[in-house]
């Protein structure tokens, strides 16, 4: 019993220490998790880690948090998953909360207001760059390019709710690939840039 708590505490502390490193996004966390979990603690083997990042990119949510949850689960079951998740969230939660408090306190200051006037286009650039980085692995054939254009069109001009679009597109994908398979056509569902899959949620 005491040993179990010690392991859970160890998992918590390990991810607590890793969390602030996510400053570079999900990317930055991969080598750090590898060093801490595989090399130092020897909780998982190298090949298990590939599974961890693959799963973390396929389920909803941030890759950084998902990887922690799944690693924790592999090491110590459901309690391990909870310990790792809480551990990875607390540091970034506190940092962003502090920044949020700063922002709310000073946002009416004219200097801060001017700063945000300049920051807003930088945020737009950041988002545009995120879209650009993903286009290689996402827009791979005529169908996906059409889907991309259609989605922007629906969002901009018909105010379709983004949630609806996400759910709808997942179902469309499943139906489309199956119909094509019945017609004897192949769909390139294998992601060539597999690595990008875990990076899709990176920096996020």
């Amino acid at each position: 019993m005491k040993k179990e708590w010690k392991l859970l505490l160890d998992i918590f502390i390990t991810f607590f220490k890793i969390a602030p490193v996510t400053f570079g996004g999900g990317y930055a966390m991969i080598p750090v998790i590898e060093r801490e979990i595989v090399t130092k603690k020897q909780w998982l083997e190298e090949k298990d880690l590939t599974d961890v990042f693959a799963l973390a990119g396929s389920v909803p949510g941030a890759v950084a948090i998902n990887s922690a949850t799944f690693t924790g689960y592999r090491v110590a079951g459901v309690k391990g998953a909870l310990a790792a998740t809480i551990g990875v969230i607390i540091p970034t939660f506190l940092i962003v909360l502090l920044l949020g408090i700063f922002y709310i306190t000073f946002k009416d200051n004219p200097k801060v207001d001017a700063a945000f006037e300049g920051i807003r286009p930088a945020v737009v650039a950041m988002i545009a760059f995120a879209a650009y980085k993903l286009k290689g692995s996402a827009l791979i054939d005529k169908t996906t390019i059409t889907a991309f254009i259609l989605s922007v069109f629906l969002l901009l001009f018909f105010q379709v709710h983004p949630m609806l679009l996400i759910i709808g597109s997942a179902f469309c994908g499943i139906i489309l690939v199956n119909i094509r398979a019945k017609l004897g056509k192949k769909t390139p569902i294998e992601n060539k840039e597999q690595q990008l899959d875990y990076f899709m949620g990176a920096n996020i």
Binding site: A81, K111, L134, L139
Partner: protein
Amino acid sequence: MTLWLLFKTFFLTGLLSFGGGYAIIPVIEAEVVKYGWMTTRQFTEIIAVASMSPGPIATNSAIVVGYETAGIAGAVVSAVAMVLPSLAIILIVAAFFSKVNDNRTVKSAFYMLRPIVVGLIAYAAIKFALSSHMIGSLSLHSLSLIIIFFVSLIALSKLKAHPAFVILFAGLAGIALYS
């Protein structure tokens, strides 16, 4: 009541955040504007704050929205609501499937999800560009905003600058130009 709305909103958001944070920005934006918690313009500032701290941008923005709407309790509720769906799904998947990624249905869903994720991110960029008066009308002011946009884009793509630095420098440019 607000806490419950925050929980509901961010639970659904967490459940649907495939493809990571930038794609989920328009989802959060639609909800916060719907409930009148803030305007699109204010939300752009939240994104800036969220991307300056470590951690996932979607969860970070949820935390700041929660704090601005309902204080510390709001921040905690929003963070928990965002993470809970992923936690539950990972536990279920880990218990029943050994390899999700090899699943054909999952792969088929992602075939269409990926372009929609890019679409959502592109839409977020256009929407924020409109709300910050970057595009829509031409003036000396909008021209200066467009210049900041392109300089930031080059810094991010060519110089591989970290978003936090880009935001910092854009903020300094803002103080120099607009105060």
